[in-house]
Symmetry: C2
Subunit: 241 residues, 2 copies
DNA sequence: TAAGTTTTCTAGAGCCATTAAGGAAGCATA
DNA sequence: TATGCTTCCTTAATGGCTCTAGAAAACTTA
């Protein structure tokens, strides 16, 4: 199946894969998730339905592969924002990365919905799936930045003794899972910020805020401002949008 | 189509509708959303697929009708929590209703996922759809409680002049849409709390927190505690879980 | 009992995912 | 150059799905 990575055959295969991914995305954006069927994708790239099974073993796998693309694209957008001012303090780069995340979501609502606001099939939840891998790289971006902030300018953390035992244990486990790069208390702050950000974007994309807001942007900025408070960022570290 | 509401036919029809709703729910809970097909539901109630079209015009409409059930059930659970201690201050009843919301979500994850964490079809977004109606009743619960709190023990609100113009306009519009029961500043506080609560539950249900938490309960309690702070609730108004 | 209404059925069109079996073309080796 | 392996693609077929159409059955009412 997997040919030598350099040959002509391999290059053709890569081109076909790219075309397939493009067709999936086009269908998703223009006609919705339900329109992304194996048959429709195959038609779009000019082959018969079953031929697609030479590239992906199932519909789920195809969806997972393209979703991984989206994760990588989103991560790249955030990394670009992060690195645009490499000399700026970590705090302002965190906010820049968050804004980049929302900007990508606004520019690509269909893709964002697929990435975040849709149930993940069991296949794609396996830790060796491309989707899971790409998701981890994405999570890494904000985590890395938070670690950097923690090391250069530690933010206030709650007293572990004040937290319920169950939460303390979970935070300790999570801290260990990121090789202790953040101690449990700092991990708690990180996760709190992450939850607020992610929750708000999820709701926006799922149209759960439509009943009150037509433009979520100022709400998002207020959320960022809350995050900046929690992370004790200087006023100087808070570029205004 | 619609018979006299009292007759024997009408009663039979109601019974069949109830049986259909029950079958949908069973399939959803036991075999997932993808298993809820017109054919499977019909098989479950012992009729042929097309017969179901005498009750609902489409798969979407059926899903919307059952989702409306779930909204009503959730709203009822919250109302029950709210009314369990009718003499308690509004603040503690708000927290009780929030806990009831999460309790229902935990007890009925599949249903909750359908209600909140799934894209809404255009049909069910129409304001005359049962789903939309039931959703409004649900939203009412926390809104009513917040209005009561605002009237009995007003919480601090931000200075409108400090908010961006766009947000101010949207809040004014929202305040008008609820007949001014909350002024724009109070509406802002309400929506902020609502967003946090909803966002966290959404993420929990969508398994977006699995990478860090195995048990979200203490995280939820912390979120509630934050809400209690924003609403300036007394310590006495904060029953511990 | 006769007419009308409501419910249900079968048949079928047109999708879908997926599997099976086989043909054509590229490519390496004898 | 001839042979055989690999890759890519095809058609055919299975069994599911939504939804439509038209006929039959059941029940209500006059």
């Amino acid at each position: 199946m997997a040919a030598n990575t350099g040959g002509r055959r391999a290059r053709l295969r890569q081109a076909t894969l790219a075309e397939i991914h493009g067709a999936v995305r086009t269908l998703l954006v223009e006609r919705g998730a339900a329109a992304v069927t194996i048959n429709a994708v195959a038609r779009q790239v000019g082959m018969s339905g079953p031929a697609l099974y030479h590239y992906y073993a199932s519909h789920d796998e195809l969806v997972g592969a393209v979703t991984a693309d989206f994760f990588r694209e989103l991560a790249a957008a955030m990394e670009e924002a992060r690195d645009a001012h490499a000399d700026a303090p970590a705090g302002s780069r965190i906010l820049a990365a968050c804004r980049a995340m929302r900007a990508w979501a606004i520019a690509h609502p269909a893709e964002f919905g697929w990435v975040f606001a849709s149930p993940i099939s069991p296949l794609n939840r396996q830790s060796d799936s491309p989707r899971h891998q790409a998701g981890q790289r994405f999570e890494q971006v904000l985590l890395d930045l938070t670690v950097e902030l923690w090391q250069t300018r530690p933010f206030p953390v709650p007293d572990l003794a004040d937290l319920p035992a169950s939460l303390r244990e979970q935070l300790t486990a999570y801290s260990a899972s990121i090789e202790g790069r953040l101690p449990p208390g700092a991990a708690h702050v990180f996760l709190t910020c992450w939850t607020r950000l992610y929750g708000l974007l999820c709701m926006e994309v799922l149209h759960q805020l439509d009943f009150a807001y037509t433009d979520v942007e100022p709400v998002f900025e207020e959320c960022l401002s809350g995050i900046a408070d929690v992370l004790a960022l200087d006023r100087a570290d808070r570029p205004t949008a």
